[in-house]
């Protein structure tokens, strides 16, 4: 059962092997979970659609066509055209790119902040921990969506700034998770042993604590990807997201709402279904991941 790489460390960290959070067993459990496989396939398909699709389907998402406004799907326009006569399929493909890139970037950035904060707070403990956690308590009571809208109205951000704002406002939850795990892990024998060997706080944080909170962190990261994609779409839907003309699914849905009473179904369903498809895939993955990590206990 023990893989090649863990064999090498056996001599120095015997306890760490039994505790490896995302060991081969958890991975196997993940792939055997029906939702895990479905989620990964779904996510790969949508990534291919958004990033490889435009390379195969050569049509401009920006060219307006006055002779073909609001066309239902046809051979020329597989998903019809929008109110400015732009090719809707091409826009749908490009629209996912921003959501996916920003979604994953925000998740990774906020995890880095959240994990670092949680590790320090949990390991140092005492007054520092108490103060750091009270700060988190305050930050958690702040209504994020409202603050995002406020900042958006003030700054009119580009994709990079939006990623930054979302990352800064979304790491509080994971910090709490990491800290509470650290509190229990740091009392274990192997951390004690490591300390007895004269290991520095840095060594303990990076080599003993971090690997053992990775399972929790991965589940939280996947959750955050979904949360960020929803946040971007919601902001764009509210008309305060990313600037035109770069399409994104939230903005497309927001426009399509103006034509709801004209029964422009081809404008409403595709971005909604694409968004839901992405979110379902991600949630499937997080569900399977959670199960896999639980089953190791």
């Amino acid at each position: 059962m023990v893989s090649q790489s863990t064999d090498i460390h056996m001599a120095e960290e015997p306890a760490a092997i039994a505790e490896k959070p995302m060991g081969s067993r958890a991975w196997r459990a993940f792939w055997h979970h029906p939702l895990g496989l479905a989620g990964v396939i779904g996510l790969v398909l949508i990534i291919l659609f958004c990033f490889v699709g435009p390379l195969i389907y050569h049509a401009s998402a920006y060219t307006t066509n006055i002779t073909a406004l609001m066309q239902p799907p046809s051979a020329r326009f597989p998903l019809g055209t929008d109110d400015l006569g732009r090719n809707y399929l091409a826009r749908l493909m490009l629209g996912g790119q921003v959501s996916l890139i920003v979604g994953f970037s925000v998740a990774i950035a906020s995890m880095v902040i959240g994990v670092a904060y949680g590790l320090v707070s949990g390991l140092v403990g005492g007054v520092v921990d108490a103060i750091m956690m009270r700060i988190i308590d305050v930050l958690l009571t702040i209504p994020t969506l409202f603050v995002l809208l406020f900042l958006d109205a003030v700054f009119q951000p580009n994709a990079l700034l939006l990623t930054g704002i979302l990352a800064i406002t979304s790491w509080f939850g994971v910090t709490r998770l990491v800290r509470s795990e650290v509190l229990s892990i740091k009392e274990r024998d192997y951390v004690e042993a490591s300390r007895a060997f004269g290991a520095s706080n840095w060594h303990i944080m990076l080599r003993e604590l971090l690997p053992n909170v990775m399972g929790t962190v991965m589940v939280a990261t996947i959750f955050q990807v979904a949360g960020s994609i929803i946040a971007i779409a919601t902001l764009s839907f509210l008309g305060l997201g990313l600037p035109a003309p770069q399409p994104n699914w939230g903005e497309m849905l927001s426009t399509s709402m103006n034509y709801m009473f004209q029964n422009a179904w081809w404008l409403i369903y595709p971005p909604g279904i694409a968004l839901l498809w992405t979110l379902l895939s991600i949630n499937f993955i997080s569900e399977a991941l959670q199960n896999a990590i639980d089953s190791r206990l």
């Binding site: 009270r134 009571t141 209504p143 409202f146 406020f150 109205a153 003030v154 919601t234």
Partner: protein, 317 residues
Amino acid sequence: MFVYIIRRIIQSIPALIGIAVFSFILLHIVPGGPAQTLLGQHSTPQRIAAINRSLGLNKPLAVQFWIWFDNLLHGNFGYSYTFNQPVLQVIGEYLPHTLAIVLIAVVLSHLIAIVLGTIQGYFRNRWFDHVITTVVFFFWSMPVFWLAIMVVLIFSIYLGWFPSGGINFSNGGPGGFIGYLDHAALPVLVLVLATVATWARFMRSSMIDSMLQDYIRTARSKGLSELSVVFKHALRNSLLPIITLFGLSIPTLFAGALVIELVFNYPGMGLLFWNAALQRDYPILLGIIMIIGLLTVAGNLLADVLYSLVDPRISYK
């Protein structure tokens, strides 16, 4: 118990001050400051300086904070640029509409979630559980605004059962209380669909936990009926975590209401916030952020207190 409540109130004071400091910082990162916004295209350096002097913005930051905070403590949230009314008065007009849909939705979705979660937890991994889990997962993944669009399409445009927005009674339809309910029906439905998933998932796992406890085995071996075991023993204990979840879900509820009010053009806090954001009416924006922060702190406090009242195993000294 009384001492505990007092202590919890005192403990939440730092959080309140924290929210006030945070809002103050937000107000001061606005480029150009309120003077620029007030004057718009009529701004000249002299006029900006005059307004800054009259608003006290030329004073040191700490002094400004104290004046602002002092006003806040006296219930003065500032003055809206666009409404020409005190912020609190404007919010007072819009808040009840939001509270109406949020409260109705919370009650309904709790009832539905408790019923669904209890049955699911009891018949764990049977067909009913699988079907509901799938449906719940589906709704759980849906962004609120997409849900709102679908509800408008189905119930307003295709079926024509309910109005698609506003609370304006002039275009036919019943007036008065019935008319109000008529217009609130779809916003409430969306909020219920958006929140019931989380609570049902939570209730299900809480119920599964309870059913594995020793006291359930004891109750069964005493020969109690299954109904009595489920409702009197398992359900009551499973409800405890829901109380905490409710306190924590207040920000989510208001965020959901924000989006929903916008789709339905429903004149609540969310719509007010959005219009204020478009018109850069910062006092209104900060007032709403503060009020929701206050409600969140109050919700957490209430959840803690309720929890200790309901669960006899928890004693606070």
